[in-house]
């Protein structure tokens, strides 16, 4: 690991000020991904601005039924929060299926949003990778790409976003609150992460001087009937091959409301809007679930080792919707 200068910020303004004043600076919160990447010499910041002292570690109910999650709320706290477990079970489940208890005790909400890909070739500094070193090429295209993207990839990058939490946030229409030099703004979660296009080195639409302060969940009463399903190569402590976050409301046999997002399939958490269109207002049965899944995966493209993900994603979507429809969606 390269040496760096280290400073602690106690408030957001100072943090933003420090990051603008210093070249090649990074915010440090839980460190579970950044320190890992620094050990691998993939990230080599000259300055670390430790933001763990900022007062952003609260989960608060908002008027109108939404919830605000401070950027420094630890993943383990968030997953255990009673309001989250009752109103947004998909989020609690997604977090608990990610990483390990130790990592969830360290990782923060804001940090989880900033996770970088687990592509093998991104981690191997001897390999070509447009995300790590723009312009060098992509060794995953013709290499081992079993864990790679089937949706929204480009010829420059077929990496996936590794987060489970973000998939649930995508399904829940969360918004990300950020603060920059004198400006505060909100970014809808689906616009927070990017598709790779020809600039895969840029993971998100967050500006270099911007700090995530909180994530807001809108009131979504039917999200009480929601769940997260993660399909992976071992029973825990593995990234998703495919994951599905969904919330479903069925009234008199008809789908009144549905939210659906996929993980492990794209450079960003993938909100399945095409499937949602097919489902909304339709009769809740296995046939429509299959049709919706197929519609969403129509644009999917498999590579040498990951074509199975297309069928796996379809099957997992159907399975999750079936479960939600039978377990409490039908009211």
């Amino acid at each position: 690991m390269k040496n760096f200068a280290y400073a602690r910020a106690q408030d957001a303004d100072t943090a933003v000020q420090l990051i603008t004043q210093n070249q090649n600076a990074k915010f440090l919160s839980g460190g579970t991904n950044l320190v890992d990447l620094m050990r691998e010499n993939i990230e080599q910041p000259d300055h670390l601005i430790d933001v763990t002292g900022l007062p952003l570690a609260q989960v608060e109910e908002l008027p109108g039924g939404g919830v605000s999650i401070g950027a420094l709320v630890r993943n383990s706290h968030l997953a255990a929060n009673q309001i989250i477990r009752e109103r947004y079970p998909v989020l609690s489940q997604a977090i608990l299926m990610g990483a390990s208890a130790q990592i969830r005790n360290m990782a923060t909400t804001g940090g989880n949003l900033m996770q970088r890909t687990r592509c093998y070739y991104f981690y191997d500094t001897d390999a070509r990778c447009n995300k790590r070193e723009p312009g060098t090429g992509c060794d995953a295209l013709e290499g081992f790409n079993r864990i790679h993207a089937i949706l929204g990839a480009s010829d420059d990058c077929i990496a996936t976003h590794p987060s489970d939490m973000c998939v649930a946030l995508a399904a829940l229409d969360a918004t990300v609150h950020v603060t920059g030099t004198g400006v505060e703004r909100t970014i809808p979660i689906v616009e927070f992460h990017r598709l790779p296009e020809d600039t895969p080195q840029i993971d998100t639409n967050l500006q270099p001087d911007e700090l995530i302060t909180s994530v807001e969940l809108p009131a979504l009463p039917f999200a009480r009937n929601s769940m997260y399903r993660k399909v992976r190569d071992r029973a825990s402590y593995a990234f998703a091959l495919v994951s599905v976050a969904a919330a479903l409301e069925v009234e008199d046999g008809t789908i009144k409301n549905v939210r659906l997002a996929l993980g492990g399939v794209a450079h960003k958490p993938w909100r399945a809007t095409e499937a949602e269109k097919v489902l909304t207002g339709a009769k809740a049965d296995e046939e429509i679930f299959k049709r919706a899944a197929a519609e969403e995966l129509k644009a999917a493209r498999g590579y040498k080792h990951n074509s199975f993900k297309i069928e796996l994603a379809e099957r997992t979507i159907v399975s999750v919707l079936k479960t939600l429809a039978s377990e409490g969606g039908a009211r």
């Binding site: 690991m1 040496n3 687990r118 981690y123 060794d139 199975f308 796996l312 099957r315 997992t316």
Partner: protein, 747 residues
Amino acid sequence: MSARIVKPGAIGQPFSRVDGRLKVTGKATFAAEYKVENVAHGALVFSQIARGKIKNIETSAARNAPGVILVLTHENAPEMKKTPVFGSDSEEMGAASSSILYLNTDEVYFNGQPVAVVVAETLEQAEHAATLVAVEYEEKQAKLILQAEKPDAVLPEHIPGEPSDLKQGDAEGALAEALYKVDNIYTTPPFNHNAIELHATLAEWSEDEKSLTVYDSTQYVIGVQEMLAKKFSLRKENVRVIGSFVGGGFGGKGNAWAHVSLTVAAAKVVKRPVKLVLSREGVHLSVGGRTPTEQRVALAANDVGKLTALIHTGFTQTTEHNNFAEQFTFPARHLYKSENIWLRQEMVHLDIVPNTFMRAPGESPGTFALESAIDELAHEMGIDPIELRARNEPDRDPVKDLPFSMRNIKEAYRVGAEMFGWSKRHAAPRTMRDGRFLIGCGVATAFYPAYQFPAAARVEIHADGTAIAQSAMHEMGMGSATAQAQNLADELGLSFEQVRFEYGDSNFPYAPVAGGSNSTISVGAAVKAACDDAKKKIHGLVGEDDASPLKGTRFDEVEFREGGIYRRDDATKGETFHAILRRFEEDKIEGEGEAAPGAESEKYSMGSYGALFCEVRVDEETGEVRVSRFLGVYDCGKIINPKTASSQWRGGITMGIGMALTEEALFDVRKGRIVNPSLAEYHLPVNLDVPNIEIHFLDIPDPLTPMGAHGVGEIGITGVAAAVANAVFNATGKRIRDLPITLDKLL
């Protein structure tokens, strides 16, 4: 249920591990943890190409990085002499993993070959500076694909001790004419041992550079000592190698890999102790694992299910500079009787990290193919797979034509079937389910030979009635030190609490590499010999002593028990070691001994066996497989310590579940690089992957081995992948012949 034999002595008792307390308090000292003053930290730079020459190596940026003391390359490294390669045909058993002269050559033989060592004040500084070393290569065409090199495959002269091509009768002919047959190709991927302790070497030279102390995470202290003495032209007795606690080995620490001598070289140059701990990536790149295999198994049977042909052939990969054959045809040599047999193993030479032995080399992938094929034949014929095995149980070793020293496979299956409830299994695939989960059950046979190698030991009986034995043996978690303490207690007639066993130090008498499940009986026999020596010496004192009630006895007229010597014919006549040594004013009596396998063992086929039962649940929607039940019934001779032995089997079975379902080193043939060199992406089984594994053992002694025992370290992994694959077939109707059985293969 078989009767359990429990002798009154220590052997057979479930003593707790002797080092347990040290391990739970953090006081067990592993190689990287010895306190040495003024230690510097090393990190390796790995080659980025698979074959070629180093044209230029630019080290100035690294040398100028903060904290850096030295960048060692082939341009400034001291000479390290060529030494015998492990398993090579030379007279002496070497420890070197290959004949590559790391840092004494500009040639690159594999991607990941260490090409420089950076030494710095802290680990992080060394690791960072290692990334600043820039190497220019003149690249050569590399051979990286097993399939492509098959035309140039070589037939090794032998695969450890056995012919590499063996024909009895006309197997192909019998196959062609057979009523029932299966004939398929099975493949297994490369695996890595991935012991949790990273490989570490800590080297300290004396000021005059004539002697050297090395703390190393090794399964072979004597081998490392001999190798380093030769490499650095030192007298062997001036090199001391210590590896008392090793955090798992599984074969990965049996050879001395590049970092061992490079750490010693770096310490010599910087004139300071140097500690080098491989990163997890470094373990995958520079420490070899298990070769992938491509195996053909063809079986033919007559109408009553007797085998008429058994063919097991195939390919593994190795390198020009190590030549290790993964003896996957060994199980087929000993498990089934067949009229016609053809076994053949070929090897291709690739430009890769030298392959090496990993838990049950050969038997582990070999049983996957053979035991899957037996299951396929049973299904084809509509015979229960246990019954099919019974019909082909040989009464003599099929290829050696020798009697078995012990063999109770049928009994193991009988007991296992009852415990597991095998009769409740549906033979037809896809007929058992629980909601969306398909359920299936499978069986397979476990097999591992019983090896004994030469070893030596010494023992001291102290005046206070305690005893210590020493041998340069190893303890990487197997329970060897505990088992030998039990052996020692019984040999001397002391209690378990009165004895101690010391190991893991090249200053102790010779012990072989901890491999091939040999330690228990190899060292066990040496301890017995040393104890006999000491006992004779003590008896020599009292047998002619007027003051002793034992005066005039012959050695065979006395017995050693309860801390002393007593007449066999009069239990009241005798005296304690304490009394004897005090009278002769001695602090201790010493004994030394050596042992090697007896001639008798040449006249028998000696192996360990097991009957494995597995139940899986397969998610029909996603193809995810989870093992839900596992039972292993073992026939491994007398079990010295049921508690530690059960753990060995469970750990082996767990590694077998990993082999079956999750583990695979991904070798990118474009550059010859392993692309998942991490524990995040090389998937060891996590605890949720492992069911409640039940263990039973027959405990029937082998009359030919010391203590009646066999080692149990390796057999645990054998057969497991087949038991899982057979259960997956029973659940889904899909036969997977290509490991690991990942969900995409079942969609």
